[in-house]
Subunit: 307 residues, 2 copies
Amino acid sequence: MRSETVFKLAFNRALDMIGVAGVRSRIPSENALKLELQTSRTTVRKVLGELQKRGLLTHSSGGWHVSRRPRKSDYFPELETVATSAQVESKFMDWILRGDRRAGELINGLELARQFGVSTNAIREYLNRFSRFGLIERRPNSSWIIRGFTREFALELFEVREMFETRSALTFALQPDAAHSWKALRRLQSEHRALLRNISERYHDFSGLDERFHRLINGASGNRFIFDFHDVISLIFHYHYQWNKVDEKQRNRLAILEHLDYIEALLSRDPKRIEAACKRHLSSARKTLLASVRTPGKDTPMAEHEA
Amino acid sequence: MRSETVFKLAFNRALDMIGVAGVRSRIPSENALKLELQTSRTTVRKVLGELQKRGLLTHSSGGWHVSRRPRKSDYFPELETVATSAQVESKFMDWILRGDRRAGELINGLELARQFGVSTNAIREYLNRFSRFGLIERRPNSSWIIRGFTREFALELFEVREMFETRSALTFALQPDAAHSWKALRRLQSEHRALLRNISERYHDFSGLDERFHRLINGASGNRFIFDFHDVISLIFHYHYQWNKVDEKQRNRLAILEHLDYIEALLSRDPKRIEAACKRHLSSARKTLLASVRTPGKDTPMAEHEA
DNA sequence: TGATTGTCTATTGTGCATAAAAGACGAGCG
DNA sequence: CGCTCGTCTTTTATGCACAATAGACAATCA
């Protein structure tokens, strides 16, 4: 049976809202709340009910009103606000990227389910969706097999990344002046500059900026396959850098400089310059990722693809 | 509960084997059979048991022996030899490609389950795996949405296909003389020639050849993402051409000629020639696919990808 | 008439149960 | 010993149940 994660998340968001609005303020309509809390009206009503029960809201003729400030203790723990399926992701990424898994190793779904404290279904579904990331492979009627986060994986990932992003960047430059993305790019440019000024304290913030920057560029391709591939990059970077803190400040500083150069190239709309800046940045990013691949071990060879 | 599809498939294969071997011949060991029938020993034993029960085999001191010829009626119907999950695929492809589905339409999993006569789980799992093909998109806690087999889809598919295959083809040519793939390529070349000679009767055989040819080339990239992407192409072509018979003979003849040209370019190892032949063939393939996209309707716009 | 809410129905997410299939272990044989 | 096979255990595939959530419709109100 499903746990009330959607409800709890919406409830927490409602608490935030109430806190901002302050005591005695009026609560908008259910339909408005539905949009604000990004959920269905059914859940909104459940939230309102619970808020009333806990004395946060009162229902008078004029509608709902805030009757007291939310306390820290009113909030549901964050863990309870994420669906089981989503919890599996971080556990699994930890398991596969940090667990020193070797290429060729088999994945025991039942064992994982026990270890993660979820049902086998959850594991099954996750593995299915995860397979597109190229780190595991399915053997029908049998277990999954690990292909491994190896040097080969990183190289293959970047081979495609470079093809896709170069093309996207060139397409980006062809957009009309009026395109929304130019504004977004300029905004990113100043955010990069701001970050660079405070690099010593804020260097952790780079990863978020990095993600938004590359997503913006890849989005310009207008190609769903290119855009979807960015998820692979994102996921890998998100988890990998979360654990690899070596030289982080230095690395990020360099990356910001490369980004700024890249952004200027884009703004110049000069294809040659763009391609050069893009390639330079990506090859430096590849180097970083490669440096943190634990074992330069051999990948399992792909099955023979012959006619 | 799981149906006995694996067993039934193995059983049918065993019947084939027995038919070829003939009455009174000896049956190999369980381990040998396991490899031959591509299944586990558990299933092999179940098959042997059933064969004995039906009087096809007898167990004497010397091992198993064939005691009578298999009859047509001994075989399990083919439908019962494919797992439910696999049955979903063809039904779903039929539904989405031929059912005149419009971009933006919602997918009702329950309804599909009823229509296909499978459980909702089967649908769920299939949709999950199918999502990587870019024809549908997930809305969490809600239904899936159809992005549509549109003109845009075909164009995006081919944009990536061209990038990937051009690169693979160039890599192919760099392989050492001794590489296995050169032999495979030559074999494909003569198969193409043979098919061309009998094009009037055998033009249906082209699709299989086409698949093997492109898979060989993409395999040379040594890149799992490129190789996996070929599955998308394969699936689309497999189902799409299965239903689009207009001008089939003429189309296939042309494609064979292009392939032969392409193959010669590869054998010449001249990068310029290869790239040209590859591009020529792919753009003609794109034209064919585009011609058969029903409505040149608008795709649902991608969500704004901004920073 | 258009927004708001009460009520009811339909659909999705998730655990569980169970048979099918895979795989492990060891005894026996050549 | 290395192969074969009997037996037992583990794991995967798949349907079902049921609460959570979404969505539809109608009544009510401004």
